[in-house]
Structures are given as structure tokens and as C-alpha cells.
């Protein structure tokens, strides 16, 4: 059911064209289709993701459902139960899929996509910033707060900000294209 919905809406099934266009797919999954398919193809044969047959002989969820569900959690900020209406997965499957997707992306794609600039890139950044009037500038650094509702009580003081909320501070360095070179965390008080 969930698989049929996804295929019908975004990929086309039974020879029919998909209901929604590629633009709409990208707007909803929040990543380009090429990125989505790359991650899906990398994940689909892994132990959790691939389709299993349970003890009663029934087919379990297709990997596409789990990947779409995990992307919905990241893209919409949904709680793990919310996407059940569309992809028909249980809360625990959602939760696990999100966790594994995050781990896969963060652990295996990070060496390629989140790293300090290499020599070529440093030169490119510097050349662009010379034109913009700041020779020697490597980029901009700033921080942003993300409220942390699940902060343990015992550590509330560590993560408290000026308004009494528990936040963690996310710092990032990016260049003109918003390519992020570095990202790190700290508590509100520690610099």
C-alpha cells in the first residue's frame, strides 16, 4: 500500500506517468532526485533496509518506504509516527530507519562532503574573495541555536541559554555558495 503510493506518485507504476513531477519530488524530499536515488541505491541491499520475509511468511516493508519515511522525518521534522499515513510503517521502523539513514549519511558520505577545503578549493575561495574585496578570506563563521527538548535534566545547566531554554549551539563555516566546510557544536556558554 505504502509502496504503491510512492511509486504511483513519484515514479510511475503500471505504465502510467507519475502523478507528481520531478520538481515536486524534490520539493518534498528536499534533496535532488539524483541524491535521493544515490542514497537509496546505496542502502537498499543492506541488512535493515532490504525487504525481508518474517516468520509467518509475509513480506515486510520495501526499502523505498523506509528511505522515503526517513527522509520525511528529516525534511519535515515529523515525529516518527506521522509519516505512517503515507508510507505505512510502524513507529519503531520509522525511528530505526531515520537513525540508520543519518548514520549512513554522516559516517560514509562525510569524508567526501564535509571536510576542510583542499588546496584547489582554498585557491578558488581566495580568488573569489579577492574579487569581493577581502583578500585572504576563507569564508564566514557563525553560530545558530537549536533548542534541545530532550536534554537530560542533569545536564540542563550546561546547555541553558540566556532565555532559560536548553539549546545547543551549532557553528558552521561556509563559502559564498553556502557549501559548508566545517560544522561543530558547543554548549551555550563554552566558546
Amino acid at each position: 500500500m505504502g509502496l504503491h503510493c510512492i511509486l504511483r506518485d513519484y515514479f510511475g507504476v503500471d505504465g502510467l506517468p507519475p502523478v507528481y513531477s520531478t520538481d515536486q519530488f524534490e520539493r518534498r524530499s528536499r534533496v535532488p532526485r539524483a541524491v535521493f536515488l544515490r542514497i537509496f541505491n546505496a542502502l537498499k541491499d543492506r541488512p535493515f533496509w532490504k525487504q525481508r520475509i518474517n516468520a509467518t511468511g509475509q513480506l515486510q516493508a520495501h526499502p523505498l518506504r523506509k528511505v522515503v519515511g526517513a527522509f520525511r522525518v528529516l525534511a519535515y521534522g515529523e515525529c516518527p509516527d506521522r509519516g505512517d499515513e503515507y508510507v505505512r510503517l510502524s513507529r519503531t521502523t520509522f525511528d530505526k530507519a531515520t537513525k540508520l539513514l543519518v548514520e549512513y549519511v554522516a559516517d560514509e558520505l562525510r569524508p567526501a562532503y564535509l571536510r576542510p577545503p583542499n588546496q584547489n578549493e582554498v585557491e578558488r575561495i581566495l580568488a573569489r574573495n579577492v574579487l569581493r574585496g577581502m583578500p585572504g578570506c576563507l569564508g564566514s563563521l557563525d553560530c545558530s541555536h537549536w533548542e534541545w527538548a530532550g536534554c537530560p535534566k542533569g545536564r540542563a545547566g550546561t546547555f541553558q541559554d540566556g532565555n532559560g531554554k536548553r539549546v545547543i549551539v551549532l557553528e558552521a563555516i561556509c563559502d559564498e555558495d553556502l557549501w559548508i566546510y566545517h560544522v561543530f557544536f558547543r554548549g551555550h556558554l563554552g566558546v
Binding site: 543519518v102 588546496q119 577581502m134 569564508g139 559564498e176
Partner: protein, 267 residues
């Protein structure tokens, strides 16, 4: 502050002073470290105001970044429900990686990728029309769009070569980036380096015949103990005097061509 970052083999010159420590743009809440450039807290003169204006215009990249990230991945919009810090970190890293994957696909079409070439075109127009006055005169303002259009048409205008050169490097095409070595004033050194990266693909400046030898930092590269290196780097980075001096130099530098530099961000 271990001294391994930022790289020191990219010397740059501002108002005659050559430095090797590259810097980041930050806002006023950051400590006065030598590799940060913050705006003047209380700009008291026109040139400080001009510098602040440009610094904020460039720093808005990262200010935009958090808005873009939040709007793209709404997981940042709600309070995090994670139970521990490592899972929070993983989530952010995953989102950032996804964001970078999209940026990699789309960056050639971004406005920012063409703005540099347009600004360079405006520079050419200004030199011809208004000879680089401090105030953006009416003639420069009117000549600038025409010059930008001309640069876009020709495709290999004087300063446009920089943008094209790094576009080639970006795509991994070993094309004739060296042919586009720019004649623009400030970008000559870096432009040549970009061209070299495109054609040689090797180890940048050292491999290029005719490129200026990076002599300014050669003396500091002697092997030292790890601890001493960290100590020296810490001292170098915490130099508040250097922080102020760099900002003052940049302020002078920006003032000289403020009309060209600020033009993309005004109006």
C-alpha cells in the same frame, strides 16, 4: 589552535603588508583572535562604516546558511528530541552532508557563481569611466551594467577569466584555464594559481614555471617539536594586536574601491 589549519602557503597582501594567516569573517561576539575579522563595534568614521557594510555583506553568506538549512530540513525547526549529544551531532552532520550534496549539483546555477564575474566587469567599466573615485558617481553606475553585459557577452573578459577558471577546476575539466589568466588588479596571483591547477593538476604554485615563488613563509617551515608548534600557533592566533591591524588594513583596502565592491549589495 594546533597550527595545522588554516594553511599558511597562501600569502596575501593588503596595503603592502603581506600575511600568511588566512581569516574568517565573524560577527561581534567572537573573541579577538588573529584569524577572525569582525566589524568595528562602534564605527566612528566613514571608512569604518564602509568596511562594516562590506564585511556584513560578505558575512551574510553564513547568516543565510542557517535560514536555508532550516527551511530545507525542517528537523531544525522543532526542538530536538534526541536523548544524547552524539545523536544530535550525527543528525546535523547528515543534514549538512545532504545540503552539500545538493550544493554540489546546483552551485553552477547559483547567483553567487556569476556575481563575481559581473563585479569584475563593473571594475573594468569603472576604470574606463570614472577612474575609481571613492563615491560611486553617476557615470560609473550607468556604465557598470553595460560593462557587465559586455563581459557576459564576450565570455572571456579581463576579470571574468577568474570565474571561468575556477568553474573549470570545479568540474574537473582540464581545459585551457591557464589561457584565461586574468589581467585584473588584485586577482593576478590567485588567478594564475587557478590556471595552474586546471592545467597541471599537480601541486599548485611550486609546479608552475613563471609563477612567483612563495618566499614569504619559507623561513617558518623549519621542523619544530609538536608542542612548540602548537605553542607558537596559539600565540600567533591569540594576537589581538594582529587582529586589529588586519582589520585596519582591510578597512583601508576596502575604501580604495568601495564603490565597485559594494555595488552588488546596494539597492
Amino acid at each position: 589552535m594546533t597550527g595545522k589549519w588554516p594553511p599558511t602557503n597562501f600569502p596575501f597582501t593588503v596595503i603592502g603588508n603581506t600575511r600568511t594567516l588566512l581569516y574568517y569573517l565573524v560577527d561581534g561576539i567572537y573573541p579577538r583572535l588573529a584569524f577572525f575579522v569582525a566589524p568595528y563595534p562602534k564605527p566612528s568614521s566613514r571608512k569604518q562604516q564602509v568596511f562594516n557594510r562590506l564585511q556584513e555583506a560578505l558575512r551574510k553568506d553564513v547568516e543565510r546558511l542557517f535560514a536555508v538549512l532550516t527551511l530545507r530540513f525542517h528537523v531544525f525547526m522543532h526542538p530536538a528530541r534526541h536523548a544524547n549529544v552524539p545523536s544530535l551531532v550525527l543528525t546535523v552532520q547528515a543534514v549538512v552532508v545532504l545540503h552539500n550534496m545538493e550544493t554540489e549539483l546546483r552551485r553552477d546555477g547559483y547567483r553567487s557563481s556569476t556575481r563575481g564575474a559581473e563585479a569584475a566587469g563593473e571594475e573594468g567599466g569603472e576604470v574606463g569611466a570614472a577612474a575609481g573615485g571613492v563615491h560611486a558617481g553617476g557615470s560609473a553606475a550607468t556604465a557598470a551594467p553595460a560593462a557587465a553585459a559586455a563581459a557576459a557577452d564576450a565570455g572571456n573578459g579581463a576579470g571574468g577569466g577568474v570565474a571561468q577558471g575556477d568553474a573549470n577546476v570545479d568540474m574537473g575539466v582540464h581545459a585551457d584555464a591557464a589561457g584565461g589568466a586574468p589581467g585584473s588588479s588584485g586577482g593576478a596571483d590567485h588567478g594564475r594559481g587557478v590556471g595552474a591547477a586546471g592545467s597541471g593538476g599537480g601541486d599548485m604554485l611550486d609546479a608552475v614555471p613563471g609563477a612567483p615563488a612563495p618566499a614569504a613563509h619559507a623561513a617558518e617551515e623549519a621542523p619544530v617539536l609538536e608542542f612548540m608548534r602548537v605553542l607558537m600557533a596559539t600565540g600567533r592566533d591569540k594576537d589581538a594586536f594582529e587582529h586589529a591591524a588586519l582589520r585596519d588594513d582591510l578597512c583601508e583596502h576596502v575604501l580604495k574601491e568601495c564603490s565597485r565592491l559594494l555595488l552588488p549589495y546596494l539597492g
